[in-house]
């Protein structure tokens, strides 16, 4: 019998969690054997994945700093996962400790862990919700407590959207967020793609077999997610091409170019 939507979900540790596998890739220990098993198999297929994710993480860091410099003082990070090192609130609150950060994830363990980490941080919180329910997220009392939706917000959808195979649904969902956000808000997206080399497709297969479908989209498809936003320089590009700090080393291994990153501003 299918679980009705109103019945609470049980915590299933027999299945790998996207959030914990991600933590494993980044060298964390917030994970279980089942997560590490999937992680290792993925790395076998795609040995450069940890680096790719590090770079994704680096993009997140640069994007957050960009937004903070642009004056953003409110962050909404959906699909935040395990709040491992270099998280949004760490990066942002380094500049201004009163910057508000709301983490959203569907994984109850990730949310519980986030709450534990954020205990004592009055400007950051974590809520459990589904990305596809913008109204639920935006009207959540915890979000309402921290974020003033009349002021610009940076909406972070980093390494998230490729876990939602229904492109139309993603587009509709982003549009609903866009319409609720104030003018001057930013949309930050990083998204896996098989445009330049095919390895990510195998990764997607591994994820699909573990119960998490993945969608590798083309650059054009990802670009459409920015509808209603104006992409800031340099546009939608490979992670390493996005506002790399001058002294940072550029590794030209094309294998690492497995995803697109971009930041858009709501006019």
């Amino acid at each position: 019998m299918e679980r009705p939507s109103w019945a609470p979900e049980d915590i299933d540790l027999e299945r790998p969690s996207v959030a914990r596998v991600y933590d494993f890739y980044l060298g964390g220990s917030h994970n279980f054997a089942v997560d590490r098993e999937l992680g290792r198999r993925v790395i076998e297929t795609f040995p450069l994945l940890p680096k790719t994710l590090q770079e994704n993480r680096a993009f997140l860091r640069r994007a957050v700093r960009f937004c903070v410099e642009a004056g953003i003082r409110q962050f909404l990070d959906i699909g935040s996962g395990i709040p491992t090192v270099g998280n949004v609130h760490e990066v942002a609150q380094q500049v201004d400790p009163t910057i508000k950060v709301v983490y959203v994830d569907i994984d109850p363990v990730a949310v519980a862990h986030s709450r534990a980490i954020l205990k004592g941080n009055e400007y950051a919180t974590a809520i459990r919700a589904d990305f596809r329910q913008p109204e639920v997220i935006l009207s959540h009392p915890e979000l309402q407590r921290l974020i003033d939706l009349r002021q610009p917000v940076a909406l972070l959808l980093v390494a998230l959207l490729h876990f939602f195979p229904d492109t139309e649904e993603v587009q509709r969902t982003i549009a609903r967020f866009r319409d609720a956000l104030a003018s001057g808000s930013y949309l930050v997206i990083s998204h896996a793609s098989a445009d330049t080399q095919p390895t990510p497709l195998k990764v997607a297969e591994l994820y699909a077999r573990s119960g998490t479908p993945m969608a590798m989209r083309t650059k054009a498809e990802i670009a459409r997610f920015f509808e209603g936003f104006e992409l800031v320089e340099p546009g939608l590009v490979l992670g390493l091409d996005w506002r790399l700090e001058p002294e940072e080393a550029v590794d030209d291994n094309p294998e690492r170019h497995s995803g697109y990153c971009g930041v858009g501003k709501k006019p």
Partner: protein
């Protein structure tokens, strides 16, 4: 403490080995850059390369200080190792590369490769110890970090589980509240029908407490009158044959009362599809049901007598006829009170209504014995449905009994009312008939009972019906037939017996019917009299006969026969008769003395007032009046004397008995001779009808009869034949 922790060499102090260039330590920056390049990418750290370099410069400074310090403290390596892990250098590769880069690159970068002798050995030893303590600190910090993170994620799992459990409990509590507080009755049973759980609404509906109902079998709630089919439906649900049931079901309250419920039942299966529970929701619709029953009773019963009305009667008759059992029969007694209108008109509707109620009660008592349905069809019409009917006789018995039950007078408001009824009885096999056919037959039969004299029953007779239908059809087509000229006349000579002279002709009407051929008057004159068509038809006959007679007159002036035309009673009573006759005479120009009108004995004798006046008027005009079929009615002879009559036409039945002298019936002869002499006494002439033999003609001539008519003398024929006689 680490195993690398030990004292510095004796006599050594800060600056015990000199760095090649003074002022600052350019080697530190270079080494930090090399170190950063070496470990970059081995672990994820949220640092830009500049930040990483600055972070490592600090660590490199501390290592170099320890290396060169007078008092060597290997603990610095341990701290650096921990610091690396705390900065999220968690990859073992970071450690490996760090140890290697320290061993290979630190001394050359500091320009200390030149040092020789015991200082060189001291440097090498210190470096090795620093490398060892760094590895040790790194490993310990990484173990701590790993354990902490594992602990943290497990705590998070516990927390998340707790929240999920809490949410589950809250959800259960919510559903329990919905279940317990629902206004609709809900019950859960296992597949065998044992009740596991009910809510308060269901318990209250049935008069139990919630506890009393747990463990009961659902069968014990069933109303005893529940049809067996409904039980089957529930068995099918329990067995998994169907997943849902929606129906109206009667349940038994603890006080024995029935509760009508609207029931929705569902089968709940487990993950393998095996039936686990039956869940039923009951809505109490008793009031709605009662209202429906009341409305249905109102719709199917007569408010005055409380008897079933025609709707219900037709429903039952339909049901009875729907059976396909060929042996079944059905009977219908269609009853109508005789003269009810008089009661209503003279004593008022109130008394009429009371009378109907009283009659209804009598009839109910009479039919209820046999279990038959009595319905009021409206007005003073009732109907008894005998279904099934044993045979025709039993249906007639019912009709008889109904008539008998009305024999006693009914007392209403001080009036003693005697009521009778007429009943049409139809009784036949169910097969091959329809409601419409039965009711049509009953209606016709009721009419027969009425026209046969009332206060009786009549049984439907298909042959009688066929005859009447034929008659009806004929009478219905007669007006058109007159318009279309389907009628024509034949003429039969009236012969003077003394010399066989044709002195007159009788006009006889015929109908050339398009389907039935030529019809004689006995087939249609009766109908024409009933419908009144006899008046226009008679007028046409008279005009036609007069026109013809006038032609004869013109052809044989003075010798032509008169024409004799039959006149029906209704014509005599028609106020336009005299005017019509005189108009026809003047139109045709026929002399009135050439016209004879024949009327039956009863028509003439029963006449008084205007009809009699008309007769006198016609006689005064010079028209001859003859009495047709004389001797078959009851003639008042003294009255006959005063009537303007010229001729008696002796009925053919008297002539029949006249035969050759020796064989003749003496009585008939006597009658004929008496009638002839009577007529002559009254100054009337006598014409004998129906002469078929020469003997009859001879006897009549001998008895003094004036004229004769009959096949022996001349058959009826066309007008041309008349001319031949003249």
């Amino acid at each position: 403490m680490t195993g690398l922790d030990h004292r510095t060499p004796a006599g050594s102090g800060r600056g015990w080995v000199a760095l090649p260039s003074g002022g600052g330590r350019p080697g530190v920056d270079t080494f930090a850059r090399v170190w950063a390049t070496t470990i970059a990418g081995t672990s994820y750290v949220p640092l830009s390369s500049t930040e990483l370099e600055s972070f490592l410069r600090d660590l490199a400074g501390r290592i170099i200080d320890a290396l060169l310090d007078d008092t060597f403290d290997p603990q610095v390596g341990y701290e650096v190792g921990r610091t690396l892990v705390n900065a999220h250098f968690t990859s073992p590769e970071t450690l490996g590369r760090t140890v290697a880069v320290l061993g290979n690159r630190l001394l050359p970068q500091l320009g200390l490769s030149y040092v020789e002798g015991p200082d060189a050995a001291e440097l090498a030893s210190r470096l090795a110890m620093l490398q060892g303590s760094l590895a040790s600190g790194f490993a310990e910090a990484l173990r701590d970090r790993t354990l902490d993170e594992q602990e943290a994620i497990r705590q998070a799992v516990l927390l998340a589980r707790e929240e999920a459990q809490y949410a589950l409990r809250a959800s259960e509590a919510r559903f329990r509240a919905v279940f317990a507080g629902a206004a609709i009755g809900i019950g859960i049973a296992d597949p065998d029908g044992r009740i596991l759980e009910v809510n308060q609404a269901l318990a209250s509906m049935l008069g139990y407490t919630v506890n009393e109902m747990r463990g009961l079998n659902i069968n014990s709630l069933r109303h005893p009158d529940e049809p067996i089919e409904m039980q089957q439906i529930f068995q099918e649900l329990a067995a998994g044959g169907r997943d849902h049931i929606f129906l109206e079901k009667r349940l038994m309250r603890t006080d024995g009362q029935a509760v009508w419920t609207h029931l929705t039942a569902s089968l709940i299966r487990d993950e393998d599809g095996t039936p686990r529970y039956q869940v039923a929701m009951f809505e109490d619709v008793t009031e709605r049901h009662q209202l429906q029953e009341r409305l249905r009773h109102q719709a199917t019963h007569d408010p005055l007598t409380q008897l079933p009305n025609r709707t219900l009667f037709f429903e039952r008759l339909n049901e009875a006829l729907r059976s396909d059992d060929p042996t079944l029969r059905v009977g219908v007694c269609y009853l109508d009170l005789d003269g009810f209108k008089v009661v209503n008109d003279s004593l008022g509707h109130d008394v009429g209504d009371q009378l109907l109620v009283a009659i209804a009660n009598r009839l109910v008592q009479c039919v209820s014995v046999g279990g038959h349905l009595l319905a009021r069809m409206g007005g003073d019409e009732f109907v008894i449905l005998v279904a099934p009917s044993r045979d025709t006789a039993s249906a007639i018995e019912v009709a008889d009994a109904a008539l008998r039950s009305l024999e006693e007078p009914v007392r209403i408001a001080g009036h003693e009312l005697t009521v009778s009824a007429s009943i049409g009885v139809v009784e036949r096999p169910v097969a091959g008939t329809s409601v419409a056919e039965v009711m049509k037959a009953a209606d016709i039969t009721l009419y027969w009972a009425k026209s046969d004299g009332r206060n009786r029953w009549a049984l439907y007779d298909p042959e009688r019906n066929a005859r009447e239908v034929a008659r009806y059809t004929l009478s219905a087509t007669m007006p058109r037939a007159l318009e279309r000229g389907e009628f024509f006349l034949e003429y039969q000579p009236l012969v003077r017996l003394t010399d066989r002279t044709v002195i007159g002709v009788e006009a006889l009407v015929r109908w050339r019917h398009p389907q039935h051929g030529v019809l004689r008057p006995d087939r249609f004159i009766g109908l024409a009299e009933e419908t009144g068509l006899i008046v226009p038809l008679g007028r046409w006959v008279l005009a036609e006969a007069c026109r013809e007679a006038k032609r004869w007159q013109q052809k044989y002036p003075g010798q032509a026969p008169f024409v004799s035309v039959n006149l029906a009673v209704r014509q005599l009573h028609d106020r336009g008769l005299v005017g019509d006759v005189s108009a026809i005479l003047s139109e045709t120009g026929l002399d009135p003395s050439c016209l004879q009108l024949e009327l039956t004995e009863s028509a003439v004798m029963g006449s008084a007032g205007p009809p009699l006046d008309a007769l006198h008027e016609l006689a005064r005009m010079g028209i001859r009046i003859a009495i047709d079929d004389f001797g078959t009615g009851y003639s008042n002879l003294s009255y006959l004397r005063r009537l303007p009559v010229h001729t008696l036409k002796l009925d053919g039945s008297f002539v029949e008995g006249l035969r050759p002298e020796d064989a003749s019936d003496p009585v008939d002869e006597k009658i004929v001779s008496t009638l002839v002499s009577l007529a002559h006494t009254l100054n009337l002439t006598v014409t004998a009808e129906g002469i078929e033999t020469s003997a009859q003609e001879e006897r009549l001539r001998d008895l003094g009869c004036d004229c004769g008519q009959g096949w022996y003398l001349a058959r009826p024929g066309p007008p041309e034949a008349v001319l031949a006689f003249s």
